[in-house]
């Protein structure tokens, strides 16, 4: 019951905040990218290669750049509101433990990333509908495996969310958090396609979407293991830290 109450409270705290605006803006920016691209070339690519190329463009941009950046921003903003207003003191003088608060906020950050991913696909679908209405070929326009893609991205981004949440919890300075997030996001382009990708959780979403089943399964398994372990360790660590020293 207390977990449910905490979950509702964390949602309440996001009212009238920038993080809700970002939840809409980041997917919108991603969905506009393939729309603009294919409007520009007049549908030639879609006619030649089919609609998959449209969807893959959007999903690639999301997993490669926008989702990691959104993950950094949403985690930072969700925790920053407590740092800036020192509202930890209010929350922790109420009957709730630090570990509970940490975990619920982590789940909030994760659900924001998942929600943003769903919204991105919905906005992409709206873009496709718009193009079909404009006279682009309708054949297989919505044949892309949305649910599978959403599921794979949602699971494989978990280690990234845990890491960024822990960073946001540990550091009070927003610039420090954003810098760490930016560096790790940029690292995806260097590490994700190399043989060392297993050591770099930021690349897991891209690899989870790989057409090679073995690689995809490996990325998913690693995401679960690494994310779960990181969540356990950081919950234990932040659960025992003293507040206000």
């Amino acid at each position: 019951m207390q977990w449910l109450n905490l979950w509702r409270i964390e949602w309440l705290k996001t009212r009238r905040t920038f993080v809700l605006l970002m939840l809409f803006l980041c997917p919108l920016a991603t969905a506009l990218f393939p729309l603009a691209q294919h409007l520009h070339n007049g549908g030639a690519t879609i006619e030649a290669k089919g609609w998959d190329v449209y969807w893959q463009n959007a999903v690639l941009m999301w997993t490669f750049l926008m989702m990691p950046m959104f993950c950094v921003l949403s985690s930072a903003l969700l925790v920053q509101s407590e740092h800036v207003n020192q509202t930890w003191r209010v929350m922790l003088t109420l009957p709730v433990s630090q570990a509970q608060l940490y975990l619920v906020k982590l789940l909030m950050a994760w659900s924001f990333v998942v929600l943003a991913g769903c919204l991105m696909l919905l906005l992409c679908a709206a873009g496709v509908a718009l193009l079909v209405w404009q006279g682009f070929p309708a054949h297989d326009a919505f044949a892309y495996p949305f649910i599978k893609t959403m599921g794979l991205v949602a699971l494989s981004c978990f280690p990234m969310v845990v890491f960024q949440h822990a960073v946001s919890w540990r550091f009070t300075h927003l610039m420090a958090i954003l810098t760490i997030g930016l560096v790790t996001t940029l690292g995806i382009s260097f590490v994700a396609r190399s043989e060392y990708w297993v050591y770099y959780p930021w690349g897991y979403p891209m690899l989870a979407l790989s057409p090679a089943d073995e690689l995809s399964h490996q990325a998913l398994l690693l995401s679960g293991l690494v994310g779960g372990l990181m969540a356990l360790v950081t919950t234990w660590w932040f659960g025992k830290r003293e507040v206000g020293v």
């Binding site: 409270i9 009238r16 207003n85 509202t87 003088t93 009957p95 003293e242 507040v243 020293v245």
Partner: protein, 307 residues
């Protein structure tokens, strides 16, 4: 029964001892003022009592429960305000109070009740970001009142308020034990404020409780003094000494201890008979501030003597 009981609480930050054995007994139904200079360890004690910090040694019981082992059950039954009001500026007053309602499993109807107590019903739907410091402070106190807790722990609740705001908060705290059937543990360094609202006081000095008293008993114990503004001072002091009365001289007069009201008229007659010009004779009741300074001076002298 004591609502707060601590034994030899100790806490150090990076090797620097902040609390060096704090013993406190806060009786039920009291408005207990916890006094001390800045840096004396008041906030650290309060953070230990609310479970935000763990003591290095010693024991702290709140409502008969060990705060370290039973932190959540304790927090469910108390209301605490630690330092300045920390609230969510994007939420309305009602939304903010609903956080405490949900976590304490209290009906949301309690929001209106506590807003009435702090006289903020009209601001129910206003955003906290638009509130003045005084309103935030009152809202923070309202938040501590959710669920009618048996004990309120308030850390410097009048900090940063204007005189009217201070008076409002003081009146509110004074009335709480009767209105809410609760005890109040309040830390402050504003002695004038404390004197007007507290029933008990404890004085923390360099991480130790050096005095703990019922304020009524304290006032009875304190000896009132007579201030005599007269001329000439030196010969009057000698005259008093011959009468076996010890006096202390200051810039414009003499201070006399150990006199009763009945002694006053014969004394003045005696002095007038010896050509002493008397301009003013006034009784002075020592204030809490006098007691505070006196206790601290004694503690300092004792520590110097030990050194």
């Amino acid at each position: 029964m004591n609502v707060i009981q601590t034994e030899q609480l100790q806490k150090a930050y990076d090797g620097l001892a902040v609390l060096q054995g704090v013993d406190l007994q806060v009786p039920q139904g009291a408005v207990f003022a916890f006094l001390g200079n800045n840096g004396s360890g008041k906030s650290t004690t309060i953070r230990i009592l609310t479970g935000l910090l763990r003591a290095d040694a010693g024991k702290a019981e709140v409502l008969g429960m060990d705060i370290t082992r039973q932190r959540l059950p304790v927090l469910a039954q108390i209301g605490a305000l630690v330092e300045s009001p920390a609230l969510y500026p994007n939420l309305t007053a009602a939304e903010c109070l609903s956080i405490a309602c949900r976590l304490k499993n209290v009906s949301l109807r309690d929001i209106d009740r506590v807003l009435d107590v702090v006289e903020m019903r009209a601001a129910r739907q206003r955003r906290i970001g638009q509130f003045s410091l005084g309103m935030k402070q009152r809202l923070a106190i309202a938040m501590t009142l959710i669920g009618a807790p048996k004990l309120l722990i308030l850390d410097e609740p009048t900090n940063g308020l204007d005189p009217q705001g201070m008076q409002d908060i003081r009146t509110l705290i004074q009335q709480l034990p009767a209105r809410q059937d609760c005890s109040v543990f309040v830390s402050s360094h504003l002695l004038d404020e404390v004197e007007k609202m507290a029933s008990h006081v404890a004085l923390l000095h360099k991480g130790r409780v050096i005095a703990q008293e019922n304020l009524l008993t304290l006032k009875q114990k304190q000896v009132r003094r007579l201030k005599l503004v007269c001329h000439p001072l030196d010969s009057t002091a000698e005259l008093l000494e011959r009468m076996s009365l010890r006096s202390e001289q200051d810039t414009d007069g003499l201070w006399l201890d150990g006199l009763s009201s009945a002694d006053l008229t014969p004394l003045l007659q005696h002095l007038l008979a010896h050509d002493v010009e008397i301009f003013e004779a006034r009784w002075h009741q020592p204030s809490l501030e006098d007691w505070f300074v006196g206790q601290q001076t004694q503690a300092l002298e004792a520590s110097h003597a030990m050194a």
